[in-house]
Amino acid sequence: MLVSDVMTAFPAHIRLGATIRRAAELVSVSEVGQLMVLDHDGRFVGSLSEEDLVRAMLPGFDDVTAAGGTLADAFRIFLERGRAFADRVIDPLVVRDAVTVRSADELARAAIVMIDRGIRRLPVVDDGTLVGTLSRADLCRAVIYHS
């Protein structure tokens, strides 16, 4: 079975230069943990994970002590940072050296790299163009549920 047989063909994606607010909106609407990122010419450049979005909002030790030093302060800053970050661009958070597969790859090949590297969703890229994504759920559906 090939990747193209089971992949999700119209993946949630975003372009470089978009705001973090836009990214958060997409994550919540599409209910995927990872957005595919394209450059201005529509070519695939990498991915953006919701984990990195959240992590960016978590304050460090110095941030907390500068703002009062209690855990309650830490929780407050977390919210404040969210608001402050919303208008910034996503570019610094994009992971650019993402592992990809081709649509003609064997499905097992994709499964192995996902498990080995702890990847939840793989970009499917043919000649620099994003053609879909392959998630663990896609794999389970194809290999177990439909078998």
């Binding site: 978590l58 030790f61 002590t65 030093g69 209690t70 855990l71």
Partner: protein, 1234 residues
């Protein structure tokens, strides 16, 4: 070897034995049997045939005759294949050239002896066959009149030390001339020892080093050192140990009891015992030198029998020094030569550290015997820290020693042993290696002993060994680093000759069964011809194999066929190499692997490993309930498979992976059994008898286990071997130096045994043929279990043995009818009942000879429960303080225990204790407890019996000592590990925190932390406090010891006072600062995260800064150096003494207050467990605050007292701690003048 008759001659065509020598005729002589005699006939040779140097024509030969033909000498041996396998027929060489070959090392020794005799002194190195590396002439006891001033100083050092007035005395000593004209060569060694000891006394009298050595020492010491070829003046191993003794009775033996120090510094017990035992150790090794030469010559002469006897001398000496001489350094305060480790650490321990930078030290690696043995045994690798140091120090050896070490490397005994493939030689060679570097040999014992000494020493302030520097804080466990280095150096000595394994062949045995189905198997193992030299009481380790049924079940549970090949880990490879026929294997079929693996019961380590690997909940619950020992591996695998774990991973995984079978399951270890036989003294054993009790039980039916028949692996294996016969077994002889018969054959011996515990006593009775009385008390259940032993019958018939048997489940008794022991009617009772019934007679036997008794040696062999009951009964036998009597019995070496674990299914675990219970038990009033592997032990009595002394035990009471216990391999030595059960009182309760977690803010950012981890942080903190309390008690306890000879232990001398000041300063810097600024701060941060989101995390830092800024704190920390100055000035000692008492008191109190505060928090965890944050968050925070408040109160109290003694903060500064070479304040080394 040749068959008779045989012709001897030069012609290979005509003679059966060809002698390649021009002076030998072509057909020279004939050997033949005439009647039953061996006859030698000369065949008309040109140059004659000689017997015992007389020319003969025809001669009947008798054993011992020497025959000579040409340059060949002929020895002969009859080989009777029935009687001996000692001589391998391949090795028989009948002919060898006349005259022994002299190896290079022999020539060195002979040259050295001749040289020393000719020049009349031994400054080029002590070396002789009679005295080894020690002087032939005992150290000189006086100088000529011109140097009397030095002689006079020797007796004054202890007093000068005590009053801290030593430096003034040496400053006033005249500067004497040490040049050859004034001081002849003959006196050089005495001068070197005296001046070296004086200089070191000067240097180390006060904790602060002097600016320089006085002229009166420096000038002559430099001169003497240069004359001895030492560029930098330094105390050498010779100065401190080989030339620092004198005989009390000049005609008496060179042994500890007949020696004093030539130049004592403190002349305290630690100095005397430590130095003189080291000296005696070297003396006792003297015969090794000659034996090494003999061995090498035997190799050159191709004479296996001579090599065997030479190696046996070395083996005997190594065993003697490690098992009899070395243990005289005894930390037991009741011992004959007690050595207190704290006293040692603060006086002798660092006295040898070189004064000048770059000078060689007198560390243990400078012992010439070690270098000689290393060369003889062909150590190649010197890459470790200790190894490099060793090489460096040998560069300073005197000439003769250097030459000897080099010469010993010229002949390879090991190669010869390997090439001849002679089993006897190989067995003995391996035994020599084991006695030298094995876990229970010299280096192994040294490592354990050193570990104990260093741990105690480092905790009371020593941070330097004589050889190298290791520095660190209290919690850094510096002594572990030293120990690791020793372990590496020991491995460097181990050459690749395979493990010390003996292969025994099982003979058919007999099995005795009781009506309950319990059985005992008596079997014999044939070990003929393998050089097995053991003593009565020793144990033998047996490598068992799992039975086919168990292997089959396990293969099935692994979902394999059994033919799969599994690659071995290094640990497994080493273990498999011990098995007959598996020398060097890296791969085994799964089925074979399982035969050799430890498949039952599941040990704690393995259980936890399986939890980590599989995350199967049902197994996790079994392990949490500590019920894993109710399971066998195949059971568990089935459970894990049902829980979703892929069991095939175990045999498919690469051996480097965590889930590879070999990484998860250990190989079957050697199981120890007491040897129930004794070879004649000095001869190798041909047979080892064993008494094996069958182990069978039914596992418990509980929520975490199910009932099933279980068997002991080793006992059933041995039973099968005894039934089948002829099976080859891998064995290892394990010496038991603490379970030895008295040297005096007239001493009475009293033995107590339960069940198969009779084993070692069968060996004892066989060996005790002297006049001494022997009593054996045996406890068994029923008459069916009573096995007849002809040896016991014979001993009783000869009047040498009184056997008394207590039947616990039958109304019967044993009587001796003059020929054999027979069962008759009697009362059921236990051995301890018999002891109480015979109290008077036993007391008479046990009482010390000094006290009018007979000084019997007592031995107990059986399960832990049996041992406890007998010892309890014995304390009742004693009028007065029975426990104290037993403690003395142990200290005198008159009580031997051989305790074994008898697994009878899952024991009732007994009471559960809390950490807060444990942490309180570290004082004489509260009692002494410790935890090892989750179990709790009351060691209040044991600390008096511990071979390593009470300090080591006291260091670990009130806390979890598992790591320390394992570090010294106690867990791996079954004979030690089994004794633990005698003191177990219950288990630590495991608290349940569910999956509770919280958020904490640390320097590393925001983190989610399991509640259990918060609890662990609290426990670690309280254990740290308890460890500090223990160390401080030892540190201040020093003030109650006799530190210099002739002092009242109750007096606080100026010498002791300086150590109190030092301990206090170290308490402030090394204990308190780290404790508050790091550990308490972390505790606070984590606790705040869980308990109060509205508390500023920095409030602790703020409070701490405010406290530190208080003048009280400044005064406390700055005044110590002022007090020290006052002490050294020597004017107002009363004020100093007053403050010393205050320091000792308040420091101890602070730790107690801190512990009280922290235990409040720990209690809250124990009461509320998972709900602790909701129910008692405030209590936790409060406990942490109280801890800081205790520190604040401490500074306040101490400041008041300091002010009260008239000290102010003006102009004082806190001493900085230089990153020096050890004892804080001992400063850096002196630069070498000019």
């Amino acid at each position: 070897m040749c068959a008779l008759p045989a012709t001897l001659g030069r012609d290979s065509g005509a003679a059966a034995v060809v002698l390649d020598d021009g002076t030998v005729s072509r057909r020279h002589a004939r050997l033949e049997i005439a009647g039953d005699r061996l006859v030698l006939t000369d065949l008309g040779s040109s140059n004659g045939t000689y017997v015992n140097d007389t020319r003969v024509t025809r001669q009947v030969l008798v054993p011992g005759d020497r025959m000579r033909i040409g340059r060949f000498e002929l020895t002969w041996t009859f080989l009777d294949p029935e009687a001996t396998a000692l001589v391998d027929p391949d090795q028989m060489t009948v002919l060898r050239p006349v005259g022994p070959p002299r190896v290079a090392a022999r020539r060195v020794v002979e040259a050295a002896e001749a040289h020393n005799l000719r020049v009349g002194h031994e400054i080029d190195g002590f070396l002789s066959l009679a005295h080894g590396f020690l002087p032939v002439e005992p150290p000189l006891q006086a100088f000529p009149e011109s140097h009397r001033a030095w002689d006079e100083m020797t007796d004054r050092l202890p007093e000068l030390f005590r009053r801290l007035s030593l430096r003034r005395a040496f400053d006033a000593m005249p500067v004497l001339d040490a040049r050859p004209a004034a001081l002849p060569d003959r006196y050089l060694l005495r001068a070197s020892t005296l001046l070296g000891v004086f200089a070191h006394a000067y240097q180390y009298m006060a904790i602060d080093p002097p600016a320089a050595l006085p002229e009166s020492l420096l000038r002559p010491w430099t001169t003497v050192s240069r004359r001895l070829g030492k560029e930098i003046p330094a105390v050498s191993y010779i100065d401190l140990f080989f030339y620092n003794w004198r005989l009390r009775d000049p005609a008496g033996p060179r042994a500890l009891d007949n020696m004093d120090l030539l130049v004592p510094t403190w002349n305290n017990s630690a100095e005397r015992v430590f130095y003189l035992v080291t000296t005696e150790f070297a003396m006792a090794l003297t015969p090794v030198l000659g034996a090494m030469l003999d061995a090498q010559e035997a190799v050159v002469a191709d004479d296996p029998a001579a090599l065997e006897s030479a190696l046996l001398v070395i083996l005997d000496r190594l065993r003697h020094v490690t098992q009899a001489v070395y243990p005289q350094i005894d930390p037991n305060p009741r011992a004959r030569h007690p050595l207190d480790q704290v006293l040692w650490a603060k006086t002798v321990g660092t006295a040898g550290v070189p004064i000048f930078d770059g000078a060689p030290s007198p560390s243990g690696t400078a012992q010439p015997q070690i270098h000689a043995l290393d060369a003889f045994l062909e150590r190649r690798d010197y890459g470790s820290v200790v190894g490099r140091q060793s090489t460096y120090l040998s560069g300073f050896f005197p000439r003769h020693w250097q030459e000897l070490v080099a010469a010993l490397r010229e002949v390879s005994v090991r190669q010869y042993v390997e090439d001849t493939r002679n089993k006897t030689l190989r067995g003995i060679y391996n035994a020599v290696l084991d006695a030298y570097v094995g876990d229970r040999g010299w280096m192994g014992l040294h490592r354990v002993k050193t570990y104990g000494f260093l741990e105690v020493a480092f905790k009371v302030g020593r941070q330097v060994t004589t050889g190298a520097r290791f520095t660190g804080l209290f919690k850094d466990r510096t002594w572990d680093k030293v120990d690791d280095q020793l372990a590496i150096a020991r491995d460097e000595r181990r050459p690749p000759v395979g493990p010390p394994v003996v292969f025994g062949t099982a003979r058919r045995g007999r099995v005795v069964s009781g009506e309950s189905g319990a059985w005992t198997c008596h079997l014999e193992l044939d070990v003929t011809g393998q050089g097995v030299h053991h003593l009565p009481g020793d144990r033998v380790g047996v490598l068992a194999e799992n039975d086919d049924e168990l292997v089959r079940r396990t293969v099935a549970a692994l979902q394999a066929t059994g033919d799969e090949l599994v690659r071995l880990t290094p640990e497994w490879r080493a273990a498999v190499a011990c098995r007959a026929g598996y020398d060097e294997v890296d791969v085994l079929p799964l089925r074979t692997l399982l035969r050799f693996a430890r498949l039952r019961p599941i040990g704690r380590e393995v259980a936890k490993r399986l939890v980590r690997l599989t995350a199967v909940g049902s197994w996790q619950r079994v392990v949490d309930a500590r019920m894993e020992d109710q399971w066998e591996l195949w059971d568990v695998l089935n459970l894990l498979y049902a829980g979703g774990y892929d069991v095939t991973r175990l045999w498919k995984a690469d051996p480097r992976e965590d889930d590879a079978f070999c990484a998860v399951i250990p190989p079957e270890p050697f199981r120890l059994y007491s040897i129930a036989s004794a070879p004649p003294p000095g001869e190798p054993a041909t047979t080892l008898k064993l008494v094996v009790a069958g182990l069978g039980y039914t596992s418990a039916g509980t929520p975490w286990s199910y009932p099933r028949e279980r068997h002991g692996t080793a006992s059933h294996f041995l039973r099968r071997a005894s039934v089948e016969g002829r099976r080859r077994l891998s064995l290892q002889i394990v010496p038991t130096p603490r379970f030895r018969l008295p040297a005096d054959p007239a001493r009475p011996v009293v033995m107590f045994a339960a069940g198969s515990g009779i084993a070692p006593f069968l060996g004892f009775v066989a060996a005790r043929t002297g006049p001494g009385e022997n009593r054996l008390y045996l406890g068994i259940r029923t008459p069916e279990e009573f096995a007849e032993h002809t040896d016991l019958d014979a001993a009783a018939a000869a009047g040498r043995l009184r056997l008394s048997v207590a039947f616990s489940r039958a109304d019967a008794a044993i009587a001796f009818d003059g020929r054999r022991h027979v069962v008759q009617a009697g009362q059921r009772r236990r051995v301890d009942d018999v002891v109480r019934a015979e109290a008077e007679a036993l007391w008479e036997l046990l009482r010390s000879t000094d006290d009018g008794g007979r000084g019997a040696y007592v031995y107990v062999c059986g399960s832990a429960r049996f041992a406890v009951s007998v010892l309890q009964a014995l304390t009742d036998v004693v009028p007065g303080d029975g426990r104290e009597f037993l403690r003395r019995l142990v200290a005198e070496g008159r009580l031997g225990q051989d305790v074994f674990t008898t697994y009878l299914g899952h024991a009732q675990q007994g009471p559960r204790f809390e950490v807060s219970d444990l942490a309180r038990r570290n004082t004489a009033d509260a009692g002494y407890w410790m935890a090892i592997g989750g179990a709790v032990f009351d060691v209040g009595e044991f600390l008096h019996l511990h071979i390593g002394g009470p300090h080591i035990i006291r260091n670990h009471v009130g806390l979890d000592a598992t790591a320390a216990y394992r570090k010294v391999l106690h867990h791996a030595h079954a004979e030690i590990d089994a004794e633990l059960a005698m003191y177990q009182i219950g288990h630590l309760r495991r608290l349940r925190f569910g999956a509770r977690w919280g958020v904490v803010l640390t320097e590393g950012g925001l983190r989610a932390l399991p509640l259990e981890e918060l609890f662990r942080t609290w426990v670690r903190f309280v254990y740290l406090l308890v460890g500090m309390e223990n160390a401080l008690a030892a540190d201040y306890g020093f003030t109650a010891s006799v530190t210099t000879s002739g002092e009242d232990p109750g007096e606080l001398t100026p010498f002791k006072a300086q150590y109190v000041l030092e301990a206090h300063r170290r308490f402030l810097v090394s204990y308190l600062d780290g404790l508050v600024r790091e550990d308490l701060r972390t505790l606070w941060q984590l606790t705040v995260g869980f308990c109060d989101p509205h508390l500023d995390i920095r409030s602790f830092d703020t409070d701490l800064a405010a406290m530190s800024a208080r003048p009280d704190v400044g005064l406390v920390r700055h005044s110590v150096s002022a007090v020290k100055e006052l002490l050294l000035a020597g004017d107002d000692f009363r004020r100093v003494a007053g403050l010393c008492r205050v320091y000792a008191h308040v420091d101890v109190r602070l730790l107690r207050d801190l512990k009280t505060a922290v235990l409040e928090g720990i209690r809250a965890f124990e009461i509320h467990e998972a709900d602790v944050v909701e129910q008692a968050g405030a209590t936790l925070l409060n406990a942490a605050r109280e801890a800081l408040a205790a520190v604040s109160g401490y500074y306040q109290r101490l400041a008041e007292q300091t002010r009260g003694q008239g000290f102010t903060d003006e102009g004082a500064v806190e001493e900085t701690i230089s990153d020096d070479r050890g004892l804080p304040g001992h400063g850096g080394p002196l630069p070498l003048p000019g």
